[in-house]
């Protein structure tokens, strides 16, 4: 057993923790993980049992069973001090509360199913306290805690809104069937009174009872000190609650007939639940919190619990496990199982993240820097000096900062506004699609999200361009802009290629397109994109020179149209996807050309984004026109032909952009400065004292930076500094603003010619060097 688990947990420990030597703790972590898995199993089992056993009876049996076992182990009466009468009363209150909370928890279990219950209800106190601290106090404990709280809330909302659990919906339709008792009925009416849809009531109830549980645990701490230890309290509490529940159970079993066929077959599962849920977990939690810090314990526990719950939820209803359990469990109908849905998985992931965030960094660790450990093993922190400035950057502040940066400059501002518009449109589309359950709209929305990635890329590049040069990127990040333009251009090319392919395929076999939903969506998309075009071409007319390109752009709209994007689905015409709004009809060759000639008026990044938006617009127009054509005349063939046409146009329009970007990336001498540079070189040769120049390299690094290097050979009797200054001035006039000149005097040139030479020789030397390395001798170059 030990061997079996040690390997997997060793790796887990290595991953998670670095601050404490782990070797001693692995044992406890294994124990914790195993316990949590068992607990998840127990909860799933109890869900099954709760289908046949009444909830109050169930809790009674649990409490009684654990009380018996705990009495045996803990011996609360024979050991410790005597309990006074006042304490007994307190204990009674305590027991009543704990009964109510477990009642709520298990009732939530019947409503929501085991997976959701585990996700919602089984958070450790540390997590919930941290969460409440963030929500209701001003000093929540730093940005990371806020993040964790936000994740938690999102997870709950996910469960509330996006969890399409069929069983819950079914239960909402027949609530009467579930009202086994007055208690259930009361809870049901309470939930309905809260104004929540009843099938989501379980979720709300679980959250509320989670808070209650935590409050209860905190309150009971004092009592446990009075009584003499948490374990003793727990044992006594179980006993007292069993006694509290006893009259109710008697009444219940007298008034209602039991659904259980044979109690004897339930002994095993009950024993297992009592063992795993009530006893083992309690002890292991106590041990682990004693041995490691509570937050860590909570983190590992939560992760293990949620993951095992997810796995179990997946396999619990599997036929195989059904066979395994069939002997121990009365058979039942399959239809009433809670299923996994996307919302649950998402929220489970969020829960895991939030609980690890909320429990991981202790508050102390955030304010100071860890300096080491005291001999006892408690961490020591340094609160002095710059540690206070070095807090982790909070998310809101980060957003605020980058927003400010974005809005500072014209280009990025334009892109940002348009991105917002686009995203808003996309989300409206997505939500509407989810709401009306239209697959076409949803997939259209996703395609648009993909389109937004081009904008995001552009925005990011525009931001990154302004980063300062670092030691690693010694020329600065200006090239990001060109790379981004290049990538955008490439994507457009790829898209054009796909459109081309798709339309050829469709030319051979024109599909039947369902045009019902095309028009409103594509008109919306067109409007959005038109705004974008206006914004960007406005930018262009500022940066470059002509507004004519703007008009030019629009003049092409008339005959372009594309539908390519739904080709994959259109073929079998079942649901008729219409991806109109964002069609990648990328047309309009002339425009790209006019940019190409205007040169540096607009940077590559903006050109890429602009072309992309333009192409989207054309796609929208194309879809509208093709819709009209198909509806009015039934010309199905017109669609692929126009797509073909558009694909070609895109290709042509992107080529100049790509060519420019390629030239820059290949370190070409900037074409627009070429003439000036040549004349500058001639001038340099005429400077007095200069014999010749060698290896002149000039290349554009980014939009506003041209770097250059040159070797000069000069006579030995002239002043180097004067010549360097002259050359620098001449080349600066020619546009080179990052220059280094190496001056070599005649004798030196002889000396160095073997060392630093032209590129071809350098390569030969590269290999020479290789051999020299092996000789361990780097000095034999001369």
């Amino acid at each position: 057993m030990e061997d079996k688990y040690s390997s997997n947990v060793l790796s887990g420990g290595k991953l998670g923790m670095v601050e404490v030597p782990n070797s001693r703790l692995t044992r406890y972590i294994v124990l914790l993980v195993v316990t949590k898995v068992l607990k998840a199993l127990g909860i799933f089992e109890s869900y099954d049992i709760l289908k046949v056993v009444h909830i109050v009876q169930f809790i009674f049996i649990l409490k009684l069973g654990s009380a018996v076992i705990l009495l045996f182990f803990q011996k609360p009466f024979s050991s410790g001090k005597v309990i006074s009468k006042r304490q007994w009363i307190k204990l009674l209150k305590h027991a009543v509360f704990s009964c109510v909370i477990s009642l709520l928890g298990f009732f939530g279990l019947t409503l929501c199913g085991p997976l959701r219950t585990l996700l919602l209800f089984e958070h450790s106190d540390v997590v919930v306290i941290a969460l409440l601290g963030v929500l209701f106090t001003s000093s929540g404990g730093g940005p990371s805690k806020t993040r964790g709280a936000a994740l938690f809330i999102i997870a709950v909302i996910c469960l509330l809104l996006f969890d399409n659990d069929d069983l819950m919906a079914k239960m909402a339709e027949h609530p009467e069937g579930h009202h086994d008792s007055a208690l259930t009925h009361f809870l049901y009416t309470a939930i309905a009174f809260l104004g929540v849809a009843d099938h989501k009531g379980g979720v709300v109830m679980l959250v509320v009872s989670l808070c209650l549980k935590v409050g209860f645990h905190t309150a009971s701490r004092k009592l446990s000190v009075e009584i003499g230890g948490a374990k003793r309290l727990y044992a006594l509490d179980n006993l007292v609650s069993a006694m509290v529940l006893l009259p109710w159970v008697i009444v219940l079993s007298a008034t209602t007939e039991s659904k259980v066929d044979s109690w004897s077959s339930l002994i095993l599962p009950f024993g297992m639940i009592i063992f795993s849920v009530m006893i083992l977990e309690f002890y292991v939690d106590a041990i682990c919190s004693a041995k490691m810090e509570t937050p860590r314990c909570a983190r590992y526990g939560a992760i293990a619990l949620f993951l095992s719950a997810l796995l179990l939820a997946n396999f619990w209803t599997h036929p195989l496990t059904d066979q395994l359990r069939s002997m121990s469990k009365p058979p039942q109908q399959v239809s009433t199982e809670h299923v996994l849905s996307g919302g649950v998985i998402v929220s489970a992931v969020f829960f895991i993240m939030s609980s690890s965030i909320l429990s991981s960094p202790s508050k102390k660790g955030q304010q100071g820097t860890l300096v080491g450990y005291s001999p006892e093993g408690t961490p020591l922190y340094n609160f002095m000096g710059d540690a206070l400035q070095h807090t982790s950057q909070s998310l809101p502040r980060f957003i605020k900062d980058s927003l400010k940066q974005i809005l500072e400059e014209y280009d990025s501002r334009q892109i940002f506004y348009f991105l917002c518009l686009n995203l808003a449109f996309t989300f409206v589309e997505l939500f509407y699609g989810v709401w009306t359950n239209s697959l076409g709209l949803i997939s259209d929305g996703f395609h648009m999200l993909f389109d937004c990635s081009a904008l995001v890329l552009g925005l990011f590049a525009a931001l990154m361009t302004r980063w300062k040069a670092t030691r690693i990127f010694s020329y600065g990040y200006g090239r990001v802009e060109i790379l981004s333009g290049f990538i955008n251009g490439l994507f457009l090319m790829v898209i054009a290629f796909f459109v081309f392919m798709e339309s050829v395929t469709r030319l051979l076999d024109p599909p039947n397109i369902n045009t019902d939903m095309l028009t409103p969506v594509s008109v919306g998309g067109l409007l959005v994109n038109l705004v974008g075009i206006c914004a960007f071409s406005h930018a262009h007319s500022h940066g470059g020179k002509s507004c004519s390109s703007h008009d030019h752009g629009h003049s092409h709209h008339g005959h372009s149209h594309s539908e390519h994007s739904h080709g994959g689905h259109g073929g079998h015409g079942g649901h008729g996807h219409s991806h109109g709004g964002h069609g990648h009809g990328h047309g309009h060759g002339g425009h790209g050309h006019s940019h190409g000639s205007s040169g540096g008026g607009m940077n590559a990044n903006m050109r890429g984004v602009y072309l992309h938006v333009l192409a989207d617009t054309l796609g929208s127009v194309g879809v509208i026109i093709s819709t009209i054509l198909i509806r009015q005349f039934g010309w199905l063939i017109a669609d692929p032909i126009c797509s073909l046409f558009i694909a070609t146009l895109i290709f042509l329009s992107v080529i100049p952009l790509l060519k420019d970007a390629c030239e820059v990336l290949l370190l070409r001498t900037p074409p627009e400065n070429e003439k000036e540079l040549n004349s500058a070189l001639e001038k340099i040769e005429k400077i007095e004292g200069v014999l010749s120049y060698r290896d002149p390299h000039f290349w554009r690094h980014s939009a506003n930076m041209i770097a250059g290097t040159i070797h000069l050979q000069i006579m030995s009797d002239v002043v180097e500094q004067r010549i360097i200054q002259q050359v620098t001035a001449i080349l600066k006039d020619a546009g080179v603003n990052n220059l280094s000149v190496q001056v070599e005097k005649e004798a030196y040139f002889q000396h160095m010619s073997g060392l630093s030479t032209g590129f071809q020789e350098v390569l030969a030397m590269t290999q020479q060097m290789e051999t020299m390395k092996y000789l361990k001798d780097g000095t034999c170059i001369m």
Binding site: I472, L483, F497, T505, H572, L665, T669
Partner: protein
């Protein structure tokens, strides 16, 4: 006035002889082992695609047609690699003063982007299908994918062999086939062979097998060094080549798993009707491709952005220190170091020296120091400090 030489250049396009040019290209392709292999493989791929296309048109199978288009797309990447390997051998001229060696970096970058793009598409398709598994007509899936694996293996064999041959054959000037070009050649050598035939029900299924891109650095590891070490791939000759070999390993794994995955999923579907196997397989393949491409992309972006070469990261501060310790050197300013193409580093820096310092000595010493660190082309601007 006599016509200047530049006039001749202008006239050239008028005398443009397509045949001559083509044969020139052809010769330059065949001159080099790597590009020759690439070329043959491209031909193989193209002919495969054409056979598929014509057969598809003949039998009117939409699946085959769109599959062949996918293969054409794969071929474009192959073509890019080929073009880059030819272009990178062009001589430098006035405009491109460094020559065209960067073409291979660029081609590697483009290919990496395409691979990421493909992986993304496959992944999203896989997710879509995992949620709603379509019934795939798998009658022809198995033979096609097995054929794909065979072609794949041929590709691996040819290129591996090619790489070795190259290393034997050429000595000193094998520089032009380096990491990027190499990786893309090899990368695409496997593109598009396993085309499962999932398209048969009207374009829903894209074939996701053929994009395993493997086996990048062979050309590289053999290209650079002519010494006996050269075809021992695990010689620690350079820091970078080890990295590349890691990438190669990843690529090979991704590729092989891709083909094998398709076959396995085909078998699973045929024997057990496990329809979920197909999307899961394709998602795994996509992930593998994505992961294996990231290092290539990172490196090529670094080079294109004129990053300081990672292999010099540690050597440079030491060099700066040594330069500053030279007699008469006050300060070192604006050091820029960047990679031209694989293993060719270029640097510029400015030295502030005492007015009476021996600049010649400083210059030669500085060159010396940096040459030892591996910077082959150095521009040192010496400025005398004002007194």
């Amino acid at each position: 006035m006599l016509p200047l030489s530049i006039k001749d250049d202008e006239y050239k396009p008028a005398k443009f002889n397509l045949l001559l040019k083509l044969s020139g290209w052809f010769r330059s392709i065949l001159a080099d082992k790597t590009s020759r292999n690439l070329f043959f493989f491209l031909c193989l791929n193209l002919s495969f695609a054409f056979v598929e296309l014509s057969y598809g048109i003949w039998s009117n199978s939409l699946g085959l047609i769109s599959d062949s288009f996918h293969m054409f797309f794969d071929c474009t990447a192959l073509l890019a690699g080929l073009a880059a390997s030819v272009i990178s051998r062009w001589r430098s001229n006035d405009s491109f003063s460094y020559g065209y060696v960067r073409a291979e970096v660029l081609a590697g970058f483009v290919n990496g982007l395409f691979l990421i793009f493909t992986a993304f598409f496959i992944f999203s398709e896989g997710v879509e299908r995992a949620l709603e598994p379509p019934d795939v007509h798998h009658d022809r899936l198995l033979p096609v994918s097995v054929a794909g694996l065979i072609v794949n293996l041929i590709g691996i064999f040819v290129f591996q062999h090619g790489g070795h041959g190259h290393s034997h054959g050429e000595g000193g000037h094998g520089h032009s086939h380096s990491l990027f070009n190499g990786s893309l050649n090899h990368g695409h050598s496997h593109g598009g062979h396993d085309h499962q035939d999932k398209h048969s029900h009207g374009g829903h299924g894209h074939s996701h097998g053929g994009h395993g891109h493997s086996h990048g650095g062979h050309g590289h590891s053999h290209g650079g060094h002519e010494e006996p070490h050269c075809h021992d791939e695990f010689t620690p000759g350079k820091g970078s080549s080890k990295q590349i070999l890691q990438g190669v390993l990843l690529h090979i794994i991704a590729d092989t798993l891709g083909s094998v995955g398709v076959i396995i999923s085909a078998l699973l579907m045929q024997k057990y009707d496990l329809m979920i196997a197909d999307p899961i397989c394709s998602m795994l393949i996509a992930l593998l491709i994505g992961v294996s491409v990231v290092p290539l992309l990172k490196e090529s972006i670094g080079i294109l952005m004129q990053r300081t070469p990672p292999s010099l990261d540690h050597a440079l501060p030491e060099c700066y220190q040594r330069v500053q310790q030279l007699q008469g050197v006050y300060n070192l300013q604006e050091p820029h170091f960047w990679t031209l193409c694989t293993d060719v580093y270029i640097g510029t820096l400015k030295l502030l020296v005492a007015p009476d310092a021996d600049t010649r000595w400083i210059l030669s010493q500085t060159h010396h120091i940096f040459t030892q660190a591996g910077v082959r082309q150095l521009y040192v601007q010496i400025e005398a400090a004002a007194m």
